[in-house]
């Protein structure tokens, strides 16, 4: 069950984007999220899209990884787009669309749904089978409805809704979806091409000026590195606990809310106790080796700001100026 979880998204590779200073990558990725909101019309969005595409394509990271990170939010994007179509009522309107639903079809669908819920609750059929039946029957009913109403123009027993779509709604919805895709691909590119340890070092350096107002930046960075070190260990331990509890008769695959809560308790108690024990050991070890919070620490790896990092940052300034000029 834990095999499909990947935490470090780093992919091995070698290109100009990999060789950039992590500080430059981090700052520019955060800036990109801010600057993309400057884009308001199609010229600026085109510019931002071309900029992102150029970087993504030359970074030599396989495109399928980007698709993989965009796929989970596909439904979300669809939802945002349709919400926009419903609620944005400005600009020119397209000719109204009539949505017709046949009452017989709706009734059949309701019966199928009720049957599925009853069968599911009485545990006659398994979860994945009911899901498949639901998807298949929904698709079938929609197609039959479309064929019946629009192809044969069967007007009896039909509900009819008038739906007016406005031009601005389509454009704005498209822009929101595009912005999401651009932001996600840019931030994924950062995690694909930068090792977590480099990223932590970059966070420490970038937030460095905040030390002046007494914020514990290096402690925060140390905390993140300790955590990054222990995430795989804890995942492995979770797997062990899972197997141990399964061998004692716990069932982690199905169950209602009560079973689920019992499963989670039986996993979380060992997780917390193991973590607390480890924290004690680690705190003792750190103190024995002379770690003093707040003192200046040196790092094994020093980051070097190079010519190409300045060039990369400059390209961002150009993008921002472009967005401000043409907005």
């Amino acid at each position: 069950m834990l095999n499909n979880i990947k935490l470090g998204q780093y992919l091995h590779g070698n290109s100009w984007y990999y060789r950039l200073d992590p500080r430059a990558k981090l700052i520019m990725s955060v800036l990109f999220i801010v600057t993309i909101f400057l884009a308001t019309n199609w010229v600026t969005y085109l510019g931002a899209t071309i900029f992102t595409l150029a970087i993504v394509l030359t970074s030599r990271v396989s495109l399928k990884f980007f698709f993989r990170s965009i796929k989970p939010i596909f439904f979300l994007m669809l939802l945002t787009f349709f919400m926009n179509l419903f609620f944005n009522k400005t600009g020119k309107s397209f000719s109204p669309i009539y949505i017709k639903i046949n009452q017989i079809m709706a009734g059949t669908f309701a019966i199928i749904l009720a049957l599925l819920i009853i069968l599911r609750l009485s545990k006659v059929i398994k979860k994945h089978i009911s899901g498949k039946i639901f998807k298949f029957s929904t698709l079938l009913i929609i197609i039959m409805n479309l064929v019946l109403v629009y192809l044969f123009s069967f007007e009896q027993y039909t509900w009819s809704f008038k739906w007016i779509v406005y031009k601005n709604a389509v454009i704005n919805g498209g822009f929101i979806v595009l912005r999401l895709v651009l932001i996600i691909s840019f931030s994924s590119l950062l995690t694909f091409t930068t090792k977590p340890t480099d990223l932590t070092l970059a966070i420490e350096k970038v937030l460095g000026p905040l030390k002046l107002i007494k914020l514990p930046v290096s402690e925060l960075a140390l905390m993140i590195s300790i955590s990054l070190r222990f995430i795989p260990t804890l995942l492995e331990e979770t797997q062990k606990i899972l197997k141990a509890q399964t061998s004692r008769g716990a069932d982690f695959t199905e169950g209602n809310l009560k079973d689920k809560v019992v499963q989670i308790i039986s996993l979380l108690i060992p997780m917390f106790i193991i973590s607390f024990r480890r924290a004690e050991d680690l705190a003792n070890a750190m103190e024995a080796r002379g770690y003093i919070p707040g003192k200046k620490r040196t790092s094994l790896k020093e980051l070097k700001w190079q010519y190409r990092d300045s060039l990369y940052s400059f390209s961002f300034v150009v993008l921002t100026l472009f967005l401000i000029y043409y907005r």
């Binding site: 931030s187 222990f230 804890l234 809560v261 308790i265 705190a283 919070p293």
Partner: protein, 205 residues
Amino acid sequence: MRNQKISDLVYLALFLTIIVVMSQVPWLGFIPLGFTTATIIHIPVIIAAIYFGKKMGVYTGFIFGGVSLLTAYLRPTNVFDLFFQNPIISILPRIAFGFVTVIIYNSLKFINFEYLRTSITAFLSTIMHTVLVIGTLILIYYNETKTFVNADKQTEEFTITFALIGLVVLSALGEAIASTLIVPPIISAIRAANKKEGNKDLFKD
């Protein structure tokens, strides 16, 4: 005498690890409730607040907010993640949540039965978590949510508002019940392990 700062730092790092693992392992951090899911990633914050006190509660709340901010940017999955991209919504209410949990726990001193005290704290603080987050969301995005909040009856907006409120209340209740059941056993297990192994060398192998 142990250095309290080091121990706080290390415990925070381990809480961060637990929060990240819970948010990555789907069946550990989320309970499906039919139409919505109850998110129980806030449970480490409650545990830190009850077990360690105010300071750690606030810090763990901050960490929880930071993790949800990063998740909202790196892999958003639902509509709320779009709002959590704003640090004011993802981090501030969570810091307040850690603080509020400690206040609730301390004000329930009159309950002598520890198990009951922690479960009531877990229930109330989870409700407070939802109230704080949704409240901040409505305050910040007042113009966007105005149509939902002030929707007249018999319009399409009203139906959607009704459905949204139903979903939020359903998942909030699920979260509250789940954390009421989950938090007390963990706290008492940690305390029992602590007592058995002696306070001096805590959790030694």
